[in-house]
């Protein structure tokens, strides 16, 4: 299971970084999303991988799943989701208003 989770994180990160380095806003947003999936999985795995264990320290229990990373992941998911929504709206507005989609272009003339 460790191998699977580790390769999943690695592949997601690699794809995310590759897409992030593209010039157009859609691949960049998709890359950010993949990157945040990888980060969430990584955070989750930082509490060690356990199956079928209670997230509590019960009397007499020797094994338990760490509940803290799950709470951290939940926070990270909420923030990541909101930011993805924001960046999509921003990309759409930039696309409509500037009439172009590349984000590595030089800035438009002093249009403010």
């Amino acid at each position: 299971m460790e191998m699977m989770v580790a390769s999943a994180i690695g592949i997601l990160t690699a794809c995310g970084v590759y897409l992030l380095l593209r010039g157009r806003s859609f691949p960049v947003v998709a890359g950010l999303t993949l990157l945040s999936y990888a980060v969430n999985l990584f955070l989750f795995a930082s509490g060690r991988l356990q199956t079928q264990q209670p997230p509590l320290i019960l009397p007499g229990a020797t094994e338990f799943a760490d509940p803290l990373p799950q709470a951290l992941v939940l926070t990270a998911i909420v923030i990541g989701f909101a930011m993805t929504a924001f960046v999509i709206i921003l990309a759409l507005r930039a696309n409509l208003q500037l009439g172009r989609d590349r984000i590595d272009d030089p800035p438009p003339g002093d249009g403010t």
Partner: protein
């Protein structure tokens, strides 16, 4: 427990909620709420700073959950100084904004208060993940403020800024995950104990986490390889937003100071000093080739970050004291610069703030005098605070082997900054194409006041250099005693905490 410690977070939050609900009411009401809240935060910050002068650490367990299980806020001198600095910068920016610049979007005031909440929270928190959350709050607010006023250039700059910071947030989470996986805690005091208890030479995972954090904070602070986003972003922002952003980079500086004295002493090592000197050189070169005043202000900001991080990178008490004094100076002066340059742009009609021949400004004496004051403060010419700050940095550098490098870079860049500022000043005020138009609008005194106040703090910092320098030194000494911080958070027998929750 001193409940006032959480007030700098709760008051802006409450004000932001109120402001959001009054978005459809009059602008006047929103201005009054925002001003009242900002003044309230300023008063609380001043009272909190006063309460830290005895040198004790004050902790506040949120929800009364004891550390290291719950989140703690920790107030020490450095946090209190940063709170006061934030409140001052906010007040100057707001005084400028309420004179008309805030009318362009309905939620300017709400975003402004949310920004304050994120900043204050980041300065107070004693938990690494909570620091991430407050970083996100202040970033989200800054995305909105950056877009204030609209326009293509702002949209373009915002898109890049948002993408870059989202990638930075991802890195922060990875660093937090690595540190949690390696130590089993995110409470900074607890983390410090466990990092110190790890094998001598350090666990490779812990060191990797520490340097990842340096990358993240370097991105926020605009440290050398990660500083190219700043000129485009800040020069696109509206003047009051850019003036408020002067404190935003200091969050990165603060986090570096906090984490690399408390949790990972000596983990950043020579990296920070070398990169900071590079940042200073790059900011100076950028200032020399800037073609408009806003870009000039951005590169001056980068140069000042280089100076203060070079001082912080010495990691000795005089160095950190110099960094804190220089941070107070440069943050307030940068705020003044962004406001002053906007005033100049408003009087130059079509040429705006570009350094090219244009009709003269309508009030050359007033604006020229302020520009001169700003240039003296920024370049580090006696008698203003920039000079004193740089002297402190140079004195502190004497203790380290790299002193020659620090002296050479700081002195040469000061000369180059002086040249760059003289060039900009003469292009604006002397190389005029025509006398000022007869009907050119003169600025009301109230419009000049915020910039004059912000730049005037440089005089105040120089006059009060004795007490303020002593405060900076006491702050540095407190920062270099991580044992006191840890004890105040975890209690007097913290080893129980280490063994009691061992994984």
């Amino acid at each position: 427990m001193n409940h006032w410690i959480i007030a700098p977070i709760l008051l802006p939050l409450a004000a932001a909620v109120l402001l959001m609900f009054s978005a459809d009411r009059g602008l006047r009401l929103r201005r009054i709420i925002n001003l009242a809240a900002t003044l309230g935060v300023l008063a609380i910050a001043a009272a909190l700073l006063d309460s830290t002068l005895d040198g004790a650490w004050q902790t506040y367990a949120v929800g009364a959950w004891p550390a290291p299980y719950g989140i703690v806020l920790v107030l020490d001198r450095l946090s209190a100084v940063m709170l006061l600095l934030t409140a001052l910068v906010a007040l100057f920016s707001l005084l400028y904004a309420v004179q008309g610049a805030d009318a362009a979007s309905r939620h300017f005031h709400a975003l402004f208060q949310l920004q304050l909440m994120g900043l204050n929270g980041a300065f107070l928190t004693g938990d690494l993940f909570n620091l991430f959350v407050f970083f996100e709050i202040l970033l989200i607010a800054s995305y909105g403020l950056l877009l204030h006023g609209g326009g293509g250039a702002r949209l373009h700059a915002a898109m890049r800024y948002v993408v870059l910071n989202l990638a930075g947030s991802g890195l922060f989470l990875i660093a937090a995950g690595v540190l949690y996986g390696a130590t089993g805690t995110l409470n900074m005091a607890d983390l410090a104990l466990r990092v110190a208890a790890a094998a001598p030479g350090g666990d490779a995972l812990i060191r990797a986490g520490a340097l990842l954090l340096l990358v993240v904070f370097g991105l926020k602070a605009a440290l050398l390889p990660l500083c190219y986003w700043l000129p485009e972003t800040y020069s696109a922002a509206a003047a009051p937003a850019a003036a408020l952003f002067a404190i935003l980079t200091k969050v990165g500086v603060y986090a570096i100071l906090r984490i690399f004295t408390l949790v990972f002493p000596a983990a950043a090592g020579d990296w920070l000093l070398a990169l900071a000197l590079g940042t200073l050189a790059l900011g100076t070169l950028g200032a020399l080739v800037s073609r408009n005043l806003r870009t000039l202000a951005c590169y001056l900001l980068i140069a000042s970050i280089g100076t203060m991080l070079a001082a912080a990178g010495l990691f000795n008490a005089p160095g950190i004291a110099a960094a804190i004094y220089y941070m107070a100076h440069s943050t307030l002066v940068t705020t003044g610069l962004f406001l002053l340059f906007d005033l100049i742009a408003r009087q130059r009609a079509a040429a705006r703030d570009r350094l090219e021949p244009a009709p003269a400004v309508a009030q050359p004496a007033l604006l020229g005098a302020l520009f001169f004051l700003a240039a003296v403060a920024v370049a580090g010419v006696p008698p203003l605070s920039g000079f004193l700050g740089k002297v402190l940095v140079l004195q502190a550098a004497l203790a380290v082997p790299a002193a020659a490098w620090v002296w050479a870079v700081v002195l040469v860049t000061s000369l180059l900054l002086l040249i760059g500022l003289s060039r900009a000043g003469s292009a604006i005020f002397w190389k005029t194409a025509a006398p000022a138009a007869l009907g050119a609008a003169r600025l009301p005194p109230a419009a000049v006041l915020p910039a004059a106040l912000a730049l005037g703090t440089s005089v105040l910092l120089a006059v009060l250099a004795g007490p303020i320098g002593a405060l900076a030194e006491a702050t540095a000494l407190q920062l270099l005693q991580p044992a006191g911080y840890i004890e105040s958070v975890l209690g007097s027998d913290p080893m129980i905490a280490v063994t009691g929750t061992g994984r």
